[in-house]
Amino acid sequence: MTSRYGIPEGRRLSRRTFIKGGIALGAAGATGSLLAACGDDDNGGSTSGGSGRGSGEVVIGSYLSGTTTVYQEKVLADFERDTGIRPVFLEDEYSTFFEKSFNDAQNQGGQYDVYLLDDPWIPQFGAARVLVNLSELGFASDDDSISAFSDQGYWPPPSGPRIAGFEDAEPQIYALPTIGDVQIYAYRRDVFGEAPATWDDLVAIARSLRARGDENAAYVLRGVAGNPIITSFDPVFQSFGGAWFDDQWNPTFGDATGQAAADFFVTTLKGISPANTAEYDTDQETAALLDSRAYSAVMYSGGIAEIQNSRVADKFGFAIVPRKEKSFGQVGFWMAALSPSAPNRDNAIAFLRWSLEPKQQVAMARAKMMPVTRSGFEDQQALDGNPVLPVWLEQLDVGAGARPRTPDWVRVEDTAGRLLNPALIKGSGGGAALEEAAADVTAYFDRQSYYDIS
């Protein structure tokens, strides 16, 4: 029998940890340890049956976000009660946490037990070989896993191009999905009636609204240079059938498909968005929706939560992202990785295992967060309380994907985003901007020794 994440039940308490637990029991009068439920010593032994208690703490590092705040309040709060281990949550600003966690992993600093990483960071950590191999600790994906999430925890990636040095390596799990997220489409049901199925439908709705004298924007996007604009562009780009790279890491986003998507984005979509959408980031995008200055957007769960918590929540509907060739939502979610110098290693492993248990997945769904296992989407109470839940699952099934698994994605995103932003301001030249970005990225990749670029 295996747990939801494929951890053999028979390995839940090893002989070594049983002895450790006994010592702890004698010393502190505590109950036995559950800590090394998935410990690397697989000598077998009796299972704790979930009744064992741990002690001490587990230090979890993450970047600041509203989602992790809800996670701490609604989900993590139960961890100590369930296991006896006190969670200590350390948060930093996004870039600061990347820097701190990467340095901690590389230099074995021992500041954290668990890193809650953004999924595009996994290639950077993976390529640097600084995380603990979780496959060797017994973690494996199973039928309940959602591949759009679980595949991102492998290094090297199970599909797609790989960087030099990892061509023949067997993919191993280095991080586990913890809090899910995928882009979906939010729209004003009272204005649109039904969600547009395609981008062309959206443009037609915008035109009819304009013809009726409605001056508000039918759509709003994030146009700030760098990550924000690419986050808004990616679902459009991939729905057009665009691909960022081929199998040899040659940039393909500047091809005809990419250029068509970019032109549509900077000209047509901008034409139905607020005039200054090029300086919008998440906060302005959400404000435009809540102030009724715009009627729809493609959003991650943070924006969706703001809508759901607003006074205009009942006016909104949610659907999968409009399609061109297909519907596509970018996944961008939290993955838990074990620090190679974790001072509370057993507690950290206990946390990793606990976070994927069905109870926590249901708790996340009920707290209007996105579960990372399929069964988390099936709880009736959660479904009754959150109409977005089935939409998220549908998006994950019909079309969702992560950003390319290169350690240089941030550089790619920055280059493309900084060139696409002026085109968005002008309202033209999207295709040319993307072509220029592709040439820049090709030159950059050429300088790196780890791309087998041809």
């Binding site: 390529a127 300086e279 350690p407 550089r411 002026p422 301001i425 020794s449």
Partner: protein, 288 residues
């Protein structure tokens, strides 16, 4: 004999802690930075020595060139503006008028605010739809979404924040000037403008030189304001060299490349400072 040797060495013993501190806190990071600039780290490989390759790549990098030009433009605009405004305010406040004590205190406020706070404040002022400027004009403004206006927006922020520093330094300079030369000039019939140009300004020049050099060095390193206000955008129009260095170092993890870039920027600042000092020395000699 032995006593003499100890006496000779004694000053060095006294100096040793300070020297160790200087070497530890100043020279070691400097040398370590230079050492890092001669290495390259690539994902999946050990860091290896690459000689001057990072410097060659830096010189070839168009984004480095763009950022350096943007920074030079920024410095060339903000330093003279802040100097001129600071001097004007200092000349006003050096008068012994009753309300000026309050004015002096008020003028210092921008300087004591944290740069991040100032940047956030200006972001609210510039915000296209809900910002103060939009409210005042009654229609959306496009300061941060146009390259030129965004650049001038960052300049305005910097001038607002750092003019008080120039003001304070120059005010202190003005207050310390001897009164006799100006009075003698007036008795000889010189008007206010002539006294200012021929007497006050030359006497104030050494203080101004220090202020200008300080601000030049400081403004080369401007980071917080542009980071919060524009993130270097739109496009790369406000991407100062400090922002680009930060991106390369911390976001792209190209540590050696970033170190080479920052060493080169350090050399540019050093050259500029040396040039400024030399220019001012030459003028001092001419006056003497």
């Amino acid at each position: 004999m032995r006593g003499t040797a100890t006496a000779k060495l004694f000053p060095y013993f006294l100096l040793a802690p300070a020297l160790v501190l200087v070497f530890g806190l100043f020279f070691y990071p400097l040398f370590d930075g230079i050492r890092a600039s001669l290495h390259a780290y690539q994902f999946g490989h050990q860091a290896e020595s690459v000689g001057l390759q990072n410097y060659i790549d830096t010189l070839k990098d168009p984004h480095f060139q763009d950022s350096l030009i943007t920074t030079l433009k920024f410095v060339a605009i903000v330093v003279p503006l802040e100097t001129a405004l600071g001097l004007a305010l200092a000349l006003l406040c050096v008068q012994e008028l009753p309300f000026l004590r309050f004015v002096r205190a008020t003028l210092v406020i921008p300087m004591v605010l944290m740069p991040v706070v100032v940047a956030a404040m200006f972001r609210l002022i510039y915000a296209s739809d809900v910002g103060l400027l939009a409210k005042l004009t009654g229609e959306p403004v496009s300061i941060l979404s146009q390259p030129t206006s965004a650049f001038l927006g960052v300049v305005a922020l910097d001038v607002w924040e750092w003019t008080p520093l120039m003001f304070l330094i120059l005010l202190a300079g003005l207050q310390s000037l001897p009164r006799d030369p100006a009075e003698a000039a007036r008795m000889d019939g010189a008007g206010t403008w002539r006294v200012f140009v021929d007497v006050t300004l030359p006497l104030l020049k050494p203080v101004m030189a220090v202020a200008i050099v300080l601000r030049t060095i400081e403004s080369f390193g401007t980071f917080d304001q542009a980071f919060v206000l524009t993130q270097g955008g739109p496009g790369r129009s406000t991407q100062l060299i400090s922002l680009y260095g930060y991106e390369v170092m911390f976001k792209f993890q190209q540590v050696g490349f970033a170190a080479a870039m920052l060493v080169m920027v350090g050399l540019v600042v050093l050259a500029l400072t040396a040039l400024l000092v030399r220019l001012l020395r030459t003028e001092d000699r001419a006056i003497a």
